[in-house]
């Protein structure tokens, strides 16, 4: 039974990698289409030297993020969640919250194959919800916004801090000391004025290292306590 489950999961993951790669490539090509269309049909091409200048400005900021962000989110998203989330974006504000919710309500344990399945289902469904809402917004333009009560419109732009704060609090409950240390690290990196990808690198990997150090310290203590008995 156990081997059957892990066999199914292995085959599933292998298949997801193939499809994930295909969709990342398709997404890349699809995102270039409007530019190609403008060039071919309307002869609207950008001044390429200016695009290069712009990229020269952007790349130093982006380069770290291109590598650090997908790696930093990977332990949480897993393989399938990584492909889904990095094609469609909005990771911290939508994909992670729904991944947590889907695993909670699906009553599965995180970091297990079952947890990964529920997380993927949740993220996939959330992608469809986001896509539909954005499509409605794009087609109806500002008129769709006026359908929402004004107070809700205004409040929605403050959803992000509450989302981040609530997720942080939820995980800090499980490991209060780690949460406090991580938070202090994060504030210090802001005060030092470090670039955001470096802050992310320090705080995320710092938290992982500290968590494992604390854990091994604890188990050593237990080991020596039981040995002295």
């Amino acid at each position: 039974m156990e081997s059957n489950t892990s066999g199914v999961y292995k085959a599933y993951t292998k298949n997801i990698i193939l499809w994930g790669r295909i969709f990342m490539l398709l997404g890349l090509m699809a995102s270039l289409l409007p530019g190609i269309y403008l060039a071919v049909v309307y002869q609207i091409v950008p001044p390429w030297d200016k695009v290069l200048q712009g990229m020269a400005l952007m790349v130093p900021f982006l380069l770290g993020g291109w590598f650090v962000e997908p790696i930093a989110f990977f332990p949480v998203l897993g393989i399938s969640g990584t492909y889904l989330s990095w094609l469609t974006g909005n990771i911290a504000n939508i994909r992670i919250p729904v991944s947590i919710m889907a695993q909670e309500t699906g009553e599965v344990q995180e970091s297990t194959p079952e947890g990964d399945i529920l997380s993927t289902l949740g993220i996939g469904i959330s992608v469809l919800v986001t896509l539909v809402i954005l499509a409605v917004g794009a087609f109806m333009g500002t008129s769709v916004i006026s359908m929402l009560p004004e107070i809700i419109q205004k409040a929605l732009s403050y959803l992000l801090p509450a989302t981040f704060g609530a997720i942080f609090a939820g995980f800090t409950m499980r490991a209060p000391a780690l949460g406090l240390i991580a938070f202090v690290m994060a504030v210090v990196t802001i005060v030092l004025g470090l670039p955001s990808w470096l802050r992310m690198l320090i705080v995320v990997f710092g938290s992982i290292i500290i968590a494992f150090t604390m854990q091994s310290h604890k188990s050593k203590k237990q080991a020596s306590a039981s040995a002295s008995k």
Binding site: M24, F74, T82, F164, T172
Partner: protein, 236 residues
């Protein structure tokens, strides 16, 4: 005022080519949902569990998606409906697209929304947005299986270690993400929303543990997000 590009930006042809991103992203989501649903059943998960997860994900996604949709409006003004829609439907965030588009404008000696922001600046903005976001697509497209191997090498397959790994990652990530709001004390609505989210989540977690209420525990994140957001209203 050189807004002649706007008739092209909102033409049916542009809608059609920009819709391709929607189709690709939706197709990926549908394929992945189908595959994970089938694998879940084969792994002896109950249909009820799968449906409960999907339902709560759909509900949780509505608020943040509306928030992104409202942000998208600021891009529509400069890029036109179809292009803003395309940029928001694929990787990147509204803030990323805005700053990349702004770089495209600046390089052409103007700013987003200015009268001088014309076709050349517009198309420069587009290419910078796309090429900047392409980095994530390429890195993930190429290296995702390597991330997994790296994780296996570092952590192995021990469930306790894996769970410590992902929960400590989560603590680090969200400490990093929420710290700017805690530091920026002058922005009262942001600070209120952040503190509201933290305090309500703590209260609900403690309460649901005390009452042993499973339902409340499951929904505490969703409730804290919305209730925390509402804390910003008195400070607007």
């Amino acid at each position: 005022m050189d807004k002649s590009y706007f008739s092209i930006a909102n033409s049916p042809g542009m809608w059609a080519v920009c819709a391709v991103v929607f189709v690709v992203c939706a197709a990926q989501a549908i394929v992945f949902v189908k595959k994970s649903y089938r694998a879940g059943l084969a792994m002896n998960l109950h249909k009820r569990q799968l449906h409960a997860g999907m339902r709560s994900a759909a509900i949780t996604a509505i608020g943040p998606s509306c928030s992104v949709m409202i942000g998208m409006m600021s891009l529509i003004v400069s890029l036109g409906g179809p292009m803003a829609w395309q940029r928001c439907s694929i990787v990147g965030s509204v803030q990323y697209e805005l700053s990349a588009a702004q770089v495209g404008a600046t390089i052409n000696g103007t700013v987003l929304g200015a009268a001088e922001y014309g076709a050349a600046a517009w198309v420069t903005s587009f290419w910078i947005c796309v090429l900047g976001a392409a980095g994530w697509l390429l890195i993930v497209g190429i290296f995702c299986p390597q991330f997994d191997r790296m994780k296996e090498k570092l952590i192995g397959n021990n469930l306790g270690k894996l769970s410590l790994f992902s929960s400590s990652t989560m603590v680090g990530l969200f400490a990093y993400l929420c710290s700017p709001y805690a530091v920026d004390v002058k922005n009262a609505p942001n600070l209120a929303s952040f503190l509201g989210g933290v305090i309500i989540m703590l209260a609900l977690s403690i309460l649901s543990n005390r009452l042993k209420n499973k339902r409340l525990k499951e929904w505490s994140l969703g409730i804290s997000m919305v209730a925390g957001m509402l804390c910003a209203i008195p400070f607007l």
